[in-house]
Symmetry: C2
């Protein structure tokens, strides 16, 4: 299985837990693949910093890369984000089954 963190969503959330990386995902949200240089524009960070962040996203499965000529293009991956969504939905559903939470909070 090449899919990273199939049954452990923590690495996915960890990858999402950074402003810069969320911004990168935002830039890739239109579905277009972009080179590292393109993704480094409008950023205070260096190209290498962006590269590292992209690799973190890639290790988490949130983006995929493809080398085209001298540039390597990154695109967002749908599946992994859906994994994270599914996990939160599951937790949320579990919480839904328990009412009177505030009551229990006081009474223990």
């Amino acid at each position: 299985m090449l899919n990273p963190s199939a049954a452990d969503p923590a690495p996915i959330f960890a990858a999402l837990g950074d402003r810069t990386r969320l911004a990168l995902l935002g830039k890739l949200a239109d579905g277009q693949a972009r080179s590292i240089s393109a993704l480094s524009l409008d950023t205070a960070l260096t190209r290498q910093a962006i590269t590292k962040h992209l690799h973190v996203l890639q290790d988490a499965g949130l983006v995929a890369s493809l080398r085209v000529g001298r540039e390597s293009r990154f695109a967002a991956r749908r599946e992994t984000l859906d994994e994270a969504r599914a996990y939160l939905d599951r937790v949320s559903a579990q919480w839904d089954e328990t009412l009177g939470r505030l009551k229990a909070f006081v009474e223990g």
Copy 2:
């Protein structure tokens, strides 16, 4: 506004990006409030380690604590998890608007 990270979901995801903390949220998923000691059972970690993780979750707004006698009880907070869900849903919806992503991935 006391609500942490109202417009910046990164800290929420960062808090979720740890196995131990996800496990803690799992234990609290039944809506019951639990003491630190109770949450430290069935764990290889020390009580202090659990305490730190709980504070991380609290700073992110994912749990709330209440001191009762000599114990401090933690309970899951619904709102912040919903924030994270809403964010992922927004991103996902944005991605939905763009078809032919794989096509664009090659063509750039």
